[in-house]
Amino acid sequence: MLLRLDTTSDAPIYAQIAAAVRRAIADGELARGDRLPPARDLARALDVNMHTVLRGLAVLRDEGTIEMRRGRGAIVVSDAVRSGLKRLVGELVAESRRNGLKPTEILALVEEELR
């Protein structure tokens, strides 16, 4: 499992950790039922305080993305991030096709929006 933290972000570190987990779910790196690394290991790998990691995990728990069980660690229980994005992309592709756009033109539209 690969978590990626955006170093250009201005958000506090605990929020970056939560964002990294959401991002991993969005791109399919983490799926429902997957277990997150122990907070202690994550803290050590990132050289941050373990309480910072736990705070990030608490955000994810409160929003219903993960469940935390004593002794079993944190488990991903919702992939709403990914399914929501996939639904929107599906709508975009369907609408573009209906209007006769070719795949490269749809991609060009998305790239334009990303700039």
Partner: protein, 316 residues
């Protein structure tokens, strides 16, 4: 799954199973019911069974060993010794089936079946041995896979320059934890010193049954066992580069923590919990560290990327 896998682990065993079921068909009209299935030392039949019973028994036995063989595979091939045992059994059962049918052909009752002597038994075992040899060869014989086979390649990972990566994975053994748990159960059931000894052995087995690896900007942490302890931290600046290799436990002297001194791996420490992919941390002035872990390609890739960013990466 490659061609060799389909051939050795699926196609040939499936053909053997079909053969076991099909062999009695051409003899169907000529067999007594039940048929003779066991012969005494004098060569005369002394045991019987319906034909379908013999077929079911042989097919069930073969299927069982087949499934166990499939479960024992790692890394997309059958181990040569496993394939040899499976094919030996297949050849043996097919030979048993054919000789049994031939002995029973034309008999009115199973007691009239032809004699089966030592010559036939030797023939049956011989067919089995030929089968075993074929299995051994098809599975590629005993290969010694050493890391040098892949060492020229440096794994990499696709990571944005703005992103910091943390990778985590583990390696789990299939059979060892079962033995370890059995040891713990024995410790509860058996009183006294033997029980304590078995319990300690069980704990040691559980410790070598799994490994957990975390890679981050601070280095590589390797935790042993289900509980990830004892753990060992290797700072990035101790590492020259990371490579991926296929670990064959038999080439490392077995499972667990191994000190490897072979001609190709002159000085290495290996944590081997299973067969298959592992990460090799090449270190200057220190022994290489090898650990069997899933998703090794990306783990090694991230280590190399982190080293590259810090200017620590030494390619070959």
């Amino acid at each position: 799954m490659n061609t060799r896998w389909w051939m050795t682990a699926v196609a040939v065993p499936a053909a053997m199973l079909v053969a076991l079921v099909v062999i009695p068909l051409p003899f169907a009209g000529d067999l007594p019911d039940p048929i003779a299935t066991h012969w005494g030392s004098g060569g005369a039949p002394n045991g019987s069974m319906p034909t379908w019973g013999l077929v079911t028994l042989a097919a069930a036995l073969f299927t069982l060993i087949w499934l166990v063989s499939l479960a024992a595979h790692r890394g997309g091939t059958l181990l040569a010794p496993v394939a040899a045992v499976l094919y030996f059994l297949g050849g043996l059962l097919i030979a048993v089936m054919v000789t049994t049918m031939l002995a029973n052909r034309g008999a009115v009752s199973w007691t009239d079946a032809g004699a089966v002597g030592l010559g036939t038994v030797a023939l049956v075992v011989g067919v089995g041995l030929v089968g075993g040899a074929i299995g051994w060869v098809l599975a590629g014989g005993r290969k010694k896979v050493f890391p040098e086979a892949e060492s020229s390649r440096l794994p990499s990972i696709d990571l944005d320059a703005d992103d910091v990566g943390v990778w985590m994975s583990g390696g789990v053994s299939l059979w060892v934890p079962i033995l370890g748990l059995a040891g713990l159960v024995a410790a509860i059931v058996i009183q006294g010193g033997t029980g304590i000894l078995l319990g300690v052995i069980g704990l040691v087995l559980l410790a070598v049954a799994a490994v957990r690896v975390v890679v981050g900007p601070e280095g590589v942490t390797i935790g042993l066992g289900w509980w990830g302890w004892p753990r060992r931290h290797i700072p990035l600046d101790e590492i020259a580069r990371a490579e991926v290799l296929q670990v064959e436990p038999l080439s490392y002297g077995g499972w667990g923590y191994r000190i490897v001194t072979s001609q190709v791996l002159t000085n290495a420490r290996a944590i081997v919990v299973r067969r298959g992919p592992g990460i090799r941390l090449v270190r200057d002035d220190r022994p290489d560290l090898i650990v069997t872990v899933d998703d090794a390609e990306r783990g090694a890739g991230l280590i190399n990327e982190l080293l590259r960013r810090r200017g620590l990466l030494h390619a070959v």
